[in-house]
């Protein structure tokens, strides 16, 4: 049974208790096990039944379905095809979600009990570091393998991981550090959370290998405090690894290689995802970035050489070492190797986590794996890379998912949040939304980021409220370029991206807001007009009673009328009306 945060939010704990209750009271011969999320968030809670005949994954298992599954599948041996979302025996309707996925980072998520080190070891866990120890691979060989695999940093920047390790290795120092960046703050991305909750030992093993390669003896995991379950499972994993001697002195029998890992809880600041800010935060200060160089590989935590990678990067390492770099490099494109996890959200039918080989087109991700747009509406654009990324419009849907192709559109790969928008999503509002986020999260160190984002937000807010002026678009572009050029860290340098890409691809929508005071997506509240559809109005007075400014007139059982001059576009009449008699345009 999948018990990740997302599953628990969907009610998985209640389902789990119900199974437990029935199994206990009826003394059924069933072993009920906890795993984490398989990524199929849109069908949570998920329960996989494994019996002699095969594996059957059931979706949307609420309490009534528990009884049905126990009754039909367990007692009568007849799987319930209607509820099955994936199986190795029956062809299920949701099979398309899994077809085309290649699971490397998510190899163990949903398959093992994340709180059991034994289950991790049964699936080749800690075999990569053993391989290094047994075959006496030296650190340079390990780094060469990572280089050969073509792995690039999965946190967003896409810097070759092997190079980073090499720099850290080449800097001589008594103390060196490995840091795992688990401060996943992008609204709309949750792959790191899922990996930490589903396969914590995989991340630890990746860090141990990194520690061996660069010559570090201490590792830190900087994890968001908003991920309590991830922190809990990491703590359990670290305790188990210490008990087995996988962390501590001379780990895996490699003499002279001591390594331990400590968890640091973040305190809620998006900018701490930037590496120098993250280091400042671990040291106990305000998380403000500093100028680079010197890079952390030279002078990082406590002024010692430090290597920072994100969760998804580390989870790939054991697989690469165990299966060899060539196995990894067979996936992907020339410059972007391997696979990437995406968090599909927004107006998409099959929201969740998918892991696909680099090079697949955005359209395929949305339509083949994601099942298309909710309510069969028209696909308009996709926001890739969160607040640092940009909008990719429908006509560029053939864009390949790799670092360079995505950058060419003006968006970035980022951590892999993919928010799908349909025709009813207003891109100006989305740009305003992201700017609002970056403006709040700006640490305030650089003037252009601190004040520039604020000014841009003011202009965007004005535009969405119908107060836009000629010249606003040019002003936004001007501010955006200046902020990009003059900010110290990635937050400021990328903050204008959502605005720039939406202006680039949807300039006409900006113009409609400014010149015609209309929102083409019918989304910006202040730009809407509410009118009564005479044929549908029954004269029930519900809207009149709800209107806070008395802008609706009419008698009982007679058609009502909205007085436009008084209307404040609050939309109460629209939500109150039970007869679809209010038209929004």
């Amino acid at each position: 049974m999948g018990l990740g945060s997302c599953g628990i939010a969907a009610g998985a704990s209640k389902t789990f208790r119900e199974f437990q209750r029935i199994i206990d009271s009826d003394k059924l011969d069933i072993e009920l096990k906890k795993t984490s999320c398989v990524g199929m968030c849109y069908k949570e809670p998920l329960v996989e039944v494994i019996d002699d005949t095969g594996r059957y994954l059931y979706g949307e298992v609420d309490i009534p379905r528990v009884d049905e599954i126990i009754d039909k599948h367990i007692r009568k041996f007849t799987p319930i095809a209607d509820y099955i979302v994936q199986s190795d025996k029956i062809k299920a309707a949701d099979q398309a979600f899994f077809d085309g996925q290649v699971k490397i980072s998510l190899r163990n998520c949903g398959h093992i009990d994340p709180e059991s080190i034994e289950e991790y070891e049964e699936r080749d866990g800690y075999q990569a570091i053993r391989k290094i120890a047994d075959s006496h691979m030296d650190p340079d060989k390990v780094i060469q393998a990572v280089l050969d695999s073509g792995l690039r940093g999965r946190g967003g920047g896409g810097f070759p991981t092997g190079m980073k390790w090499k720099f850290a290795r080449n800097n001589q120092s008594e103390r060196k550090y490995v840091i795992c960046n688990a401060d996943e703050g992008d609204p709309g991305a949750f792959m790191d959370r899922s990996i930490l909750e589903g396969d914590p030992h995989g991340v630890l093993e990746g860090m141990i290998i990194c520690g061996f390669a660069i010559g570090a003896s201490e590792g830190y995991i900087y994890c968001r405090a908003e991920y309590p379950l991830a922190i809990k499972r990491l703590n359990i994993a670290i305790r188990q690894a210490r008990e087995k001697g996988y962390l501590g002195k001379d780990v895996f029998g490699i003499s002279g290689f001591d390594f331990d890992i400590i968890i640091k809880e973040g305190a809620g600041a998006f900018v701490c995802g930037e590496e120098t800010a993250l280091i400042a935060s671990i040291e106990g200060a305000r998380g403000m970035p500093r100028r680079r160089p010197p890079f952390p590989a030279e002078s990082g935590l406590c002024k010692s050489p430090t290597n920072i990678n994100n969760v998804e990067t580390f989870i790939n390492i054991p697989w690469i070492i165990y299966h060899g770099p060539a196995a990894y490099a067979q996936y992907g494109t020339e410059k972007s190797k391997g696979t990437k996890v995406f968090a599909l959200t927004g107006k998409i039918r099959h929201g969740g986590l998918v892991e696909v080989p680099m090079g697949i087109s955005i359209k395929d991700v949305i339509h083949k794996l994601g099942g298309g747009i909710v309510d069969d509406k028209k696909f308009k654009a996709v926001q890739l890379g969160g607040p640092s990324g940009g909008c990719i419009p429908e006509h560029l849907g053939h864009t390949q998912v790799d670092y360079d192709s995505v950058n060419a559109t003006g968006a970035i790969m980022g951590s892999g949040g993919l928010v799908v928008m349909d025709e009813s999503t207003c891109v100006v509002d989305i740009a305003r939304f992201f700017l609002d986020f970056t403006q709040k999260e700006s640490c305030g160190k650089c003037t252009f980021c601190r004040l520039g984002t604020k000014r841009m937000l003011e202009i965007l807010t004005r535009i969405t409220e119908g107060e836009g002026k000629e010249g606003d678009i040019e002003m936004l572009e001007d501010l955006a370029e200046t902020i990009k050029d003059s900010s110290l860290c990635g937050l400021g340098q990328t903050a204008p991206n959502p605005v720039l890409t939406t202006i680039k691809y949807f300039r006409d929508e900006y113009e409609a807001h400014i010149r015609d005071k209309k929102c083409p997506a019918i989304s910006c509240k202040k730009l809407l007009t509410y009118t009564v559809i005479d044929e549908n109005c029954t004269g029930c007075m519900a809207c009149i009673k709800g209107c806070p400014v008395d802008a609706i007139e009419g008698e009982k059982k007679q058609v009502h009328k909205i007085i436009q001059d008084l209307c404040i576009q609050c939309g109460v009449c629209f939500t109150r009306c039970k007869f679809e008699a209010i038209k929004v345009s």
Binding site: S5, C6, I8, A9, A10, C41, Y42, E44, G185, D186, P187, G188, A189, F190, R193, A225, E226, Y227, K264, E265, G266, A267, G268, A269, F270, S281, I282, E283, G284, A285, R286, G287, C302, A343, L344, T345, G346, K347, G351, G352, Q383, G386, G417, V419, M421, T425, I430, F433, F434, F437, Q439, K440, E441, S442, C443, G444, R450, G571, T575
Partner: protein, 173 residues
């Protein structure tokens, strides 16, 4: 920058009497001479009192020698820390991207309207604090809100208000 959070008006009605500083002793001893102890100390203090009482800053300063301005700087930098007590139930409204495109703003407005407070404020009876947060990480259940440890997904404004009303009713009984 989150200026509005720093200038948060003090709600004197809900500030309790002098906090019992002896509760902090274990925490202070644990982190006293450790490097990078400032954030864990503040996190621990907030775990004890639910917020960071003014007196606690002075106590940490006395024991560890950490500068008051540094502590205040850190406490106001990170979103996690609060300088005034929160309500009994903290309602976190997810304003992540996925929730935003699924119109969470309308739900938040409806809740704030029902409780007669603004974003970040606490109701006068001390029952609810409503906060908008960046992302709770359950995007496929959008729009989402979290009350205590319970997450509510796929909400409509009506459902959300109903949940709040139910909690209030059970508290009043």
């Amino acid at each position: 920058m989150r200026i509005q959070r720093i200038n948060h008006p003090k709600n004197t009605d809900t500030v309790k009497d002098q906090p019992d500083l002896s509760l902090m002793e274990g925490l202070l001893q644990q982190y006293k001479n450790k490097k990078g102890n400032l954030i864990p100390l503040l996190q621990g203090t907030q775990d004890i009192y639910g917020y960071l009482p003014r007196e606690a800053f002075y106590r940490i300063h006395e024991v560890t020698g950490l500068a008051l301005n540094e502590m205040y700087g850190v406490a106001t930098f990170y979103a996690q820390f609060r300088l005034v007590p929160a309500g009994k139930h903290i309602v976190k409204m997810c304003h992540g991207t996925a929730c935003h495109v699924q119109s969470v703003t309308a739900i938040t407005d409806e809740i704030l309207d029902t409780l007669q407070i603004k974003d970040g404020e606490t109701t006068s009876d001390g029952l609810f604090t409503v906060e908008t947060v960046a992302c709770l990480g359950c995007c496929s259940l959008a729009p989402v809100m979290m009350i205590g440890d319970e997450t509510y997904g796929k909400l409509t404004p009506k459902q959300a208000v109903k949940i709040i009303r139910e909690i209030r009713r059970s508290e009043n009984n």
